[in-house]
């Protein structure tokens, strides 16, 4: 956390150096992917593994775009509304899950079903959403761009940086609160946690709220940045698993883990695209897949996990073995 403020200030200066557009584009994409991954990992690291986080990207993005296209509501207002809506859906789905003790595989598969429902609904409501062809938010003339949140890449760089900072801040606040200890206890043994007075449902709902709100925030900004929405890239199993992959590859137990994961996934995709062009379509998921398997077998704590372990063993050789679990 100590490094976050200087780091953010340094990153905020980047657009002033007039870097190439391509660099800014990659940066915005990485930051927004990292926000979604951070949101997912906040639940994932406490054993609440969701395979439906894509749904919240989708709900947020489509709510924002529809409010803009149909009601003319500027994304500056539309994004908070859309994020609140997505978080509400998350809580409405989470409440019965937590109350009725839908955990583990069952929770993962309920969230998977929810993600698919959202994807199919977006496709089916094609009169409003454009179906699988996707939709574009209405453009405005450049002089009204600021009000409509339509500006150049530098503007989105700062917005994405703010969202990323918000995600890390939420992580940090959660980490040093009692809720984090309670959630860790719940993920170890729900019954035992309940017996010492932890309100299991409430704690889980709170983290679900934060997690889905972050995912929705990432979704809205992605859509607004690309000025294009489609159900495949904003909802459903494919994107949900990609979020999971990024968070796992980087390491879901460390605040910067999902960010490292986002750099890896986006970087890998770009390297493959540049090196092989369209000849190698399918190469990226192929390599992702192999990496995901290898990570699970050899590095379940992700890349940041190794760094952490090294640092811990260097500074505290007598550290508790449990911490390495």
């Amino acid at each position: 956390m100590r490094y976050l403020i200087p780091l953010m200030l340094a990153l905020a200066c980047v657009p002033l150096l007039a870097p190439p557009d391509y660099f800014l584009h990659l940066g915005v994409t990485v930051l927004l992917t990292a926000v979604a991954g951070t949101g997912w990992a906040m639940m994932g690291r406490y054993g609440l593994v969701s395979f439906g986080h894509g749904a919240f990207l989708g709900i947020g993005a489509y709510a924002m775009a529809l409010l803009w296209n149909m009601a003319g509501l500027t994304p500056w207002v539309g994004i908070p509304v859309a994020v609140a809506l997505a978080a509400l859906v998350g809580v409405m789905l989470g409440y019965p899950c937590f109350r009725l003790k839908v955990v583990g595989h069952y929770f993962a598969l309920v969230t998977l079903a929810a993600g698919e429902i959202v994807r199919i609904l977006i496709t089916a409501l094609r009169e409003y959403t454009g179906g699988s062809l996707g939709m574009t938010p209405d453009r405005v003339p450049p002089e009204q761009g600021l009000l409509a949140m339509q500006f150049d890449k530098a503007g989105f760089w700062w917005l994405a940086l703010l969202a990323w900072g918000a995600g890390l801040l939420a992580w940090w606040l959660l980490d040093r609160s009692m809720a984090s200890k309670a959630l860790a206890a719940i993920s170890e043994d729900e019954e035992a946690a309940a017996s010492i007075g932890i309100r299991v449902t409430r704690e889980k709902l709170r983290v679900t709220l934060i997690s889905t709100a972050l995912a929705a925030l990432a979704g809205t900004l992605m859509a607004q940045y690309r000025m294009y929405l489609n159900p495949e890239s904003l909802a459903g199993l494919g994107i949900s698993l990609q979020i999971v992959f990024g968070a796992i590859a980087g390491g879901m137990y460390a605040p910067l883990g999902p960010t490292v994961g986002a750099i890896i996934t986006i970087g890998l995709e770009e390297v493959l695209r540049i090196a092989f062009g369209t000849e190698f379509t399918g190469g990226a998921p192929f390599i992702y897949g192999i990496l995901l398997v290898l990570f699970m077998i050899y590095l379940p704590r992700g890349i940041v996990g190794i760094v952490e372990r090294k640092r811990r063993s260097a500074t505290a050789p007598l550290g508790l073995p449990a911490a390495a679990k």
């Binding site: 009725l100 079903a113 429902i117 992959f245 379940p300």
Partner: protein, 284 residues
């Protein structure tokens, strides 16, 4: 009853038969090995490509392509177990699921690399049959019969063979069975191979009804998982019955609205079911 509604109902039952096979395979593997193969629909997808390739590209007769598909996917199931699942047997369940999720990407990517993203059709169709007042697609009826046959064979295998008995026993108690002289590793391998073969059979039935493309697994994968969870993970009979229930819901739902809404109804039904019966409809 309205004959169109009746037709939707019959189609639902036929569809349920096709859902039943992957649900049985997934439940078998989960019940025995205690791992969810998230890439199960992608194994089916590879099988569909195998049939398509052998029949249209290599010029094999259709029955030989079908016969070859089963061992191919079965081998894939074995490899999945040996290379991915076995090293993770002691890991938390979620790591296992995510690793098989990795295999999902891997298989989608591999098939995209080899066959591109074009939709491939087998171009085989059977004439519809008229039964009473309603028309039934011949392809669907044949697929349904094959699915029932496959399920019956699986049942006989589990019920009447020594290995089948061992499989059922290990699904019931994996701590005690090793003490009784059952080698769990061997049983896991057999269950994975049989689970793969069921995916292969499902591939044969689906490839005549659907065009195959690298992402075709996403169109029937999620509903297969939901069927398994609804029936109770690892509960074979529950999964079998839930498959028909889902088939009917999808088909009759499509009769009143669009196909997409029928899936929304089916998935919504699934979520409500899980809230009402968190361990599956048929949990004891």
């Amino acid at each position: 009853m309205d004959s169109f509604l009746l037709e939707a109902l019959v189609n639902g039952i036929l569809l349920g038969g096709v859902f039943a096979l992957p649900a049985l395979g997934l439940n078998l593997v989960f019940g025995v090995v205690d791992v969810v193969w998230l890439c199960y629909a992608e194994l089916v997808m590879v099988g569909m490509y195998a049939v398509w390739f052998l029949y249209t590209q290599a010029g094999w007769p259709l029955w030989m392509a079908f016969a070859a598909c089963l061992p191919v996917v079965s081998l894939l199931g074995l490899l999945l177990h040996l290379l991915v699942v076995r090293p993770l047997l002691a890991s938390p369940p979620i790591n296992q699921v995510l690793a098989t999720g990795g295999v999902l990407f891997l298989l989608q990517g591999a098939m995209t690399l080899i066959f591109r993203t074009d939709f491939r059709s087998l171009g085989v169709d059977m004439p519809p049959m008229e039964v009473g007042e309603i028309f039934v697609s011949g392809t669907k009826l044949a697929a349904f019969c094959a699915a029932l046959l496959g399920a019956a064979l699986l049942w006989a295998f589990l019920k009447f063979t020594y290995v089948g008995t061992a499989i059922r026993a290990i699904a019931r108690d994996r701590e005690v069975m090793p003490l009784m002289g059952v080698d769990p590793q061997r049983i896991y391998l057999i269950a994975s191979a049989v689970g793969g073969a069921l995916a292969g059979l499902a591939a044969c039935l689906l490839v005549v009804q659907l065009d195959v493309h690298p992402f075709v697994g996403l169109s029937f994968g999620p509903i297969t998982f939901m069927i398994c969870v609804m029936g109770g993970l690892g509960n074979m009979l529950g999964g079998f019955l839930a498959a028909f229930l889902m088939g009917i819901i999808v088909s009759v739902g499509g009769f009143w609205g669009s196909t997409e809404f029928s899936y929304v109804v089916a998935f919504g039904f699934f979520i409500v079911t899980i809230f009402a019966r968190p361990r599956g409809l048929f949990a004891r």
